[in-house]
């Protein structure tokens, strides 16, 4: 193992906490204002709707609602991060995109149980960067249906 293996995290803000996603998972970042989101009736509440991504219809998930966080109003900083999961594109609605951080892999710890308000089902680790703590998300679990989350809770 090379000593200083690094990963690049794109970090963003959600209800006052800082989160990160591996840059390799990210397809693009769009301003919410540029896109018309179509509401999907009777879908789970965290589904903001669907958008047209160059001819493909993809869902947009409100991460705040997904994590049951306090919701910040949509403003000019609101962004949609388009990630790729198993060949499917999915948009994640976040309060603000911060920056790209180079983090040593060694500096990412297993998630402790009560680190954040967010259910640890969605977290793959905690990255230390100088004095900052960035919550690294598990995209796969975020995109699984609610039932799995319940199951995971019971399993714990």
């Amino acid at each position: 193992m090379a000593k200083n293996q690094q990963i690049q995290l794109v970090t963003f803000q959600l209800s006052g906490e800082e989160y990160g996603v591996d840059i390799l998972r990210i397809h693009e970042i769009k301003r919410l204002k540029e896109i018309g989101i179509t509401h999907v009736p009777r879908a789970p509440e965290f589904v903001e709707g669907v958008i047209n991504l160059r001819g493909d219809v993809i869902p947009v998930i409100d991460l705040g609602k997904r994590f049951d966080l306090e919701n910040k109003k949509v403003d000019k900083e609101t962004r949609i991060i388009v990630v790729k999961q198993e060949d499917k594109f999915i948009g994640l609605l976040v309060d603000r995109v911060n920056e790209v951080l180079n983090v040593d892999k060694e500096a990412i710890d297993e998630p402790p149980r009560e680190i954040s308000q967010v259910n640890s089902f969605f977290i793959s680790g905690i990255a230390r960067y100088n004095e900052r703590l960035v919550i690294v998300l598990d995209i796969g679990n975020i995109l699984s249906p609610r039932e799995n989350e319940e199951l995971a809770k019971i399993a714990r």
Binding site: T38, V40, P41, N52, L143, R146
Partner: protein
């Protein structure tokens, strides 16, 4: 490089082998059914021959050896069709199976191993061919054969000239018969070009030659030719036919036109092989084009209003309709490429039916109709497995054993029909048998036993809904579990697969008379005509195929149109009372409105009136699947009433309403249409 080339050729070989094997298999089936028809044997021979050739050049010796022996037997058959026996048919069947097996080995790259089975086969073939050569060839076919294509070419090339088919029998002349024929031929050579004769080589003929026939192309007329022949024939009778006579089937027993067959398709119509992925890519691009076209049309509406004097704008407005036209034509052409005849999957059934019939001890005749009906290729592929299941079921459970049938006063051979036809925007594929049929009462008791329905539900169900229970998971009426069917899985899988394709399964049955199962499929899934409607600021598309009428509702006619029966809102339409669903309430979008439009829609005779705020207009929409996200255990969960999405002219997404889904959900939910949304 060498290896790459070899792989390429191997792929090509495998592709061709598949086709050849399929045609050969069909040919054996036909031989079994119709006896040794020349045309079929020829076709078979050609296929075996070309497989032998390609296998030989690729170095697949066992395949080449086996096809070589098949060729020998076929050649014998060609000369004396009378020797065709069940033995030979069986041998041919086994050989085809072996060839398939060998082909698999080639595909998997397995080395050729000693195969005693092949040796055995080769030996059996050898016995047949040698035994027969001892027989004197008494009943040789005396015909001249021409394919339709050859006939056509003859006609086209010789428009200025006449083509005659001449034949005679030597009745009085008993000696030197071949010399007489030779004289006739020789004299005619000066009059025109001899195209074909029977026998082909006069100088090789030994002994008697009581008949002779030929095709000649000449500038002379009938009477002149007739005079020339008469000189050499003296008092023997002869006949002269023109091309027209041949086409009209008057040419008598020494001439036969060979119908167009598979291998000759390439001669009459040029075609190329294209990777299906390329066609799919083309389809996707055309889809994008259609979206942009709709967008252009929308933009042009805006320009029209405020640019009377702008010449460039006017030029643009003239161009857009043309783009619209071209895009639509292009779309249709690409769709057409994707269309495939249903016959392409039907032809895989004769063998299957034969095998299942043997296994189950039934005697089944398979019939087809509508093989030319075309269907989107992707749908067609998905429909094969469900069809196999239905056919298995029909033979296993439907058609009775020959004894049983005779007792019931039916012909001992059961009839299984695969039919296909188009009905409006749907393609229907039917599997129909004349077997025992299904007894709704038996289904009821079975369903009660399995706990699929309650006694009360059973009482209320009509025979049609009882039949539909067969499609429920865990239902099977067969007493015994066997290899073929009857494990309680299957029919529900058939339904699930068909519904995935946006299709339906319909069952009708008459106890004692038979069962018909229809698969109703959409013509295509890609682009459809739809009505765009608006509700609470959202646009929805409703496929036109599900809409019967739109009715404007305002404060004047509101009370007349919408009535309340048992606290449910209904609409009377063409003397039918149909339930009313307010889209806003159904989708939990907020309070309802008292004015708007009623969309009268329906599927399978079940009707519904959907109330929306506004109607935007008809539009061609490109259907985008939401299947990755919608459904059980998926991100959105199951969303009743939505089948997919499309992209509007302005680039935003609109959801496509699923009338059948709305009906189903309405039926289940009863009065409480506003239930908790799923997945939440």
């Amino acid at each position: 490089m060498e290896n790459i080339d070899f792989e390429k050729f191997k792929k090509l070989f495998l592709q061709e082998a598949d086709e050849q094997l399929e045609i050969m298999e069909k040919a054996v089936m036909q031989l079994e059914e119709n006896g040794g028809e020349r045309e079929i044997i020829d076709e078979f021979f050609r296929m075996a021959h070309s497989l032998k050739g390609s296998a030989g050049s690729m170095g697949y010796t066992p395949i080449a050896n086996l096809t070589h022996e098949m060729e020998n037997v076929l050649d014998k058959l060609r000369n004396s069709p009378g020797i065709l026996s069940d033995d030979i048919i069986d041998l041919l069947f086994i050989s085809l199976d072996t060839l398939k097996h060998l082909r698999e080995n080639v595909e998997k790259g397995l080395p050729e191993t000693e195969n005693p089975e092949i040796d055995h086969l080769l030996q059996r073939f050898g016995e047949i061919t040698s035994k027969d050569s001892e027989k004197k060839e008494t009943d040789i076919d005396k015909k001249i054969y021409l394919t339709s294509q050859e006939l056509k070419n003859l006609k086209e090339k010789n428009q200025e000239k006449n083509v005659f088919f001449i034949c005679f029998e030597l009745i009085h002349q008993k000696e030197m018969q071949s010399m007489v024929a030779f004289l006739v031929l020789n004299n005619l050579k000066d009059e025109g070009e001899i195209i074909k004769t029977y026998p082909p080589h006069l100088d090789e003929v030994e002994g008697d030659l009581p008949f002779f026939s030929m095709l000649i192309c000449t500038e002379k007329q009938t009477d002149e030719i007739s005079r020339v022949i008469g000189q050499s024939l003296e008092n023997e009778e002869f006949k002269i036919y023109t091309l027209e006579d041949i086409e009209n089937g008057k040419s008598g027993e020494y001439f036969q036109e060979v119908k167009e067959s598979f291998s000759q398709r390439g001669e009459s119509r040029e075609s190329i092989r294209v990777d299906i992925e390329k066609v799919d890519q083309l389809m996707k691009l055309v889809g994008e084009l259609v979206i942009d076209k709709e967008r252009l049309l929308e933009i042009s509406k805006g320009i029209k209003a405020n640019s009377r004097d702008n010449l460039e704008a006017q030029a643009l407005l003239q161009t857009i309709p043309h783009v619209d036209f071209i895009a639509t034509e292009l779309h249709e052409s690409v769709m057409d490429i994707r269309m495939y005849p249903v016959g392409s999957i039907f032809k895989r059934f004769p063998r299957l039916v034969r095998d299942i019939s043997r296994q189950t001890g039934k005697d089944v005749k398979l019939k087809f109709s509508g093989e030319d009906t075309e269907l989107d290729r992707t749908i067609l592929q998905e429909v094969f497995d469900p069809l196999v299941h239905l056919v298995r079921n029909a033979i296993d459970h439907g058609i009775e054993t020959p004894d049983r049938r005779e007792k019931e006063g039916k012909p001992s051979q059961g009839l299984l029909a695969l039919n296909a036809w188009q009905e409006e925007n749907n393609i229907i594929i039917e599997v129909k048998d004349d077997g025992a049929g299904v007894d709704p009462e038996k289904i009821k008791s079975r369903a009660l036993e399995k706990g699929l329905i309650t006694a009360k539900e059973g009482e209320e169900m009509d025979s049609e809904s009882l039949l539909e229970l067969i499609l429920e998971p865990g239902f099977s009426t067969s007493e015994t579990v066997n290899d073929l069917s009857g494990r309680g899985v299957g029919m529900d899988v058939v339904r699930t697969n068909i519904e995935k394709l946006d299709g339906e399964v319909e069952i009708t049955s008459q106890p004692g008379e038979g069962t018909s199962i229809k698969i109703v499929l959409p013509l295509t899934l890609a682009i459809v005509q739809a009505l765009m409607v608006r509700e609470k600021g959202n646009d929805y598309a409703i496929p036109l195929s599900a809409i019967f009428e739109t009715i404007l509702v305002n404060k004047n006619n509101r009370r007349e149109v919408i009535k309340t029966v048992k606290s449910r809102e209904v609409v009377t339409w063409r003397e039918q009372v149909i339930p009313l669903i307010r889209l806003g309430e159904f989708f939990q979008l907020g309070n309802s409105h008292e004015e708007g439009f009623l969309i009268i829609g329906g599927v399978k005779g079940r009707m519904v009136a959907i109330m929306v705020e506004g109607v935007i207009g008809e539009q061609e929409i490109v259907v985008k699947s939401l299947g990755d996200f919608m459904g059980k255990d998926k991100l959105f969960g199951e969303i009743p009433g939505i089948s997919g999405a499309t992209i509007k002219g302005n680039g935003e997404v609109a959801l496509i309403l699923d009338i059948q889904g709305i009906l189903k959900s309405f039926k289940k939910g009863g009065d409480s249409v506003e239930r908790q949304s799923t997945g939440c």
